[in-house]
């Protein structure tokens, strides 16, 4: 074995250590994570190539089974569903649903018999499609009568102007990069109370529309789910499926293995449902609690390596494939890889993230040369040091590399564990 390989392996262990502390001063503790084994509350998650011909990079997928409400036979297992800790809700592309199942998923209608159609906004586009009701199963967990978005439904082919004005449509497997998405963020709904307040509709962000026909849609309000569900009917917002589980419904643990700094082929980890609800999902009392902003889900990040830079808004997101931040002095790649950094040699940085409760957690990370990483092997799809520039100051995106080699506990707003009340992360 070459010495360089040994060195890289050692470096990988070092850069993935999880170091924690409080505002009195961060302390370090050696990391190394254990992936929870198969169980009814554990789904396999995979960093893999995804459904498209061009392999995805640092994209996280799982499988879910969608059934017509109340049916155990009109069901379809859907793979390559993206796991997104940045958003909430199950969304499936219409093109992957079997006609038999699609026809049996009831449209959500309001009191005037208008169909509720959503404009799910993303940073790089929008997903337009109706809200339906479905039963979802993932591993042994069931979310019954779950409000789900069907993206790209032929019944609602064209988004209204304010929605289409937010970017390109993400309504095909090619453009969406997945067969659907399961959003398991710290929020119970994708929008929340702002989309629900009928007394003050001017604060509505405008994600939900009431459509009397495909061509006649107007922004509307949609209530949040009131749990436990008591057979109540009427529209509800597209929701984090976890809150619909009978148990294990207070959050998730995202567990991904440690990989080499040179990258890895397909790797698998675990999405564990519930925190402190089973013997296999107990909180790690050594972890610090990073309370997230109750409105945005964000925290502040400070890059401590000179020059020190503060990013007042940052978020932890398996839906982003790299660490994205503006920083002077790191060479940006050229040609077709300008979305990534390409330093001459791997750079090491230290940073802290700070919650509203003033807890400081230290996060060391490294920035590799994306050109070298991505060209080393055609089968590599996972990288723990993939980072890129952004021109917008004050923002730091902790994408998938952050999650590699960690067990990240993500607790939903208002939900309680032995450590704290959500929304929070601990790792």
């Amino acid at each position: 074995m070459r010495l360089t390989n040994l060195f890289l392996a050692g470096a990988a262990v070092l850069l993935l250590c999880s170091c924690k502390g409080h505002s009195s001063g961060a302390t370090s503790a050696a990391g190394g994570n254990t992936i929870t084994g198969a169980a009814g509350n554990v789904a396999t998650i995979t960093v893999g190539a995804g459904p498209n011909a061009t392999p995805a990079i640092n994209a996280l997928y799982t499988s879910v089974t969608v059934c017509a409400p109340g049916s155990t036979t009109n069901c379809q297992k859907i793979d390559n569903v993206q796991v997104d800790t940045g958003t909430s809700g199950l969304r499936i592309l219409a093109s992957v649903l079997s006609p038999v199942l699609a026809a049996a998923l009831p449209l959500t209608v309001d009191g005037n018999n208008n169909t509720i159609v959503e404009c799910a906004q993303y940073a790089d586009g929008y997903a337009w499609g109706p809200v339906v009701t479905a039963d979802m199963t993932i591993s042994g967990e069931k979310a019954l009568s779950l409000p789900v978005q069907v993206i790209g439904s032929s019944a609602f082919p064209t988004a209204p102007t304010p929605c289409a004005g937010t970017g390109p449509a993400l309504d095909t497997i090619q453009t969406f990069g997945a067969n659907g998405t399961i959003g398991v963020s710290v929020f119970a709904q994708d929008c929340g109370s702002a989309c629900a307040l009928t007394l003050d509709p001017s604060i509505n962000p405008g994600f939900y529309y009431a459509c009397s026909s495909a061509a006649d849609c107007t922004v509307t309000t949609v209530p949040v789910a009131t749990l436990p569900l008591t057979g109540a009917t009427g529209p509800r917002q597209v929701s984090n499926p976890v809150i619909y589980f009978a148990t294990d419904n207070n959050g998730v643990i995202v567990e991904l293995p440690t990989i080499a700094a040179t990258g890895s082929g397909t790797i698998s980890g675990a999405l564990v449902f519930g925190v402190d609800t089973q013997t296999n999902n107990t909180s790690n009392t050594a972890d610090s609690v990073l309370t997230l902003n109750a409105t945005t889900g964000g925290v502040e990040t400070t890059l401590l390596t000179s020059p020190v830079v503060a990013y007042e808004k940052s978020f932890f997101d398996t839906g982003s494939n790299g660490l994205y931040f503006s920083y002077t002095g790191i060479t940006v790649c050229t040609t077709t890889l300008t979305q990534y950094y390409c330093p001459a040699s791997t750079l090491s940085y230290n940073s802290t993230v700070e919650s509203s409760s003033a807890t400081l957690i230290s996060i060391p990370f490294s920035v590799g040369n994306a050109q070298t990483l991505l060209s080393a092997s055609a089968t590599s799809v996972a990288f723990n040091n993939l980072a890129g520039p952004t021109t917008l100051a004050g923002r730091f995106t902790w994408g998938l590399p952050f999650f590699l080699g960690r067990n990240v506990y993500s607790v939903i707003e208002g939900k309680t564990t032995s450590l704290a009340i959500g929304p929070y992360l601990s790792f």
Binding site: D124, A194, D317, S320, A393
Partner: protein, 160 residues
């Protein structure tokens, strides 16, 4: 020194629904001035809803900020008596970028379609147009600027 004057205005362009909900109209107001244009700013638009505009003067440019009651903010960076060289936005939803970016919206769409960062982040350049869009529902932010039109002495970090 910043000159800060705040006033209510009426918006000329509104995407209003006629759906009566609780007796109130649901409207999605939109900024008028667009990237690269020298058209009258959003401050020239008409008052409607409870949107407000704040104009802030800096040494090399003015910022006209349209703030909507739903928390969405659109800021246009203009050379005095000149063109809008940058647009920045933030809030729980994205603004109508087809209006804010005007003739440059197709460039954003093209870059967004080519984006491989994941749906919660994109940063790209198309000719003179440089743009970043980040965040997810509940918290979006982004900007777009014309690199050749940014006045000398203005840091990109200010365009946020």
């Amino acid at each position: 020194m910043d000159l800060d004057r705040r006033h209510q205005l009426r918006l000329g362009l509104l995407s209003c629904s006629v759906a009566l909900l609780g007796g109130l109209l649901l409207c999605a107001p939109a900024a008028r001035a667009t990237l690269g244009s020298s058209a009258a700013s959003i401050a020239a638009d008409r008052d409607q809803l409870r949107a407000s505009v704040r104009v802030t003067s800096h040494a090399l440019y003015e910022v006209h900020e349209l703030m909507l009651p739903n928390g969405v903010s659109v800021r246009e960076y203009r050379v005095p008596d000149g063109i809008v060289f940058a647009i920045a936005w933030s809030g729980p939803a994205k603004p109508d970028l087809s209006q804010a970016l005007g003739a440059y919206f197709p460039g954003y769409v093209e870059a967004a379609k080519a984006n491989t960062d994941g749906h919660n982040h994109m940063s790209a350049r198309r000719a003179d147009l440089v743009m970043t869009s980040t965040g997810r529902m509940r918290d979006f932010a982004g900007h777009a600027y014309l690199a050749s039109a940014v006045p000398a002495g203005v840091s990109i970090d200010e365009l946020r």
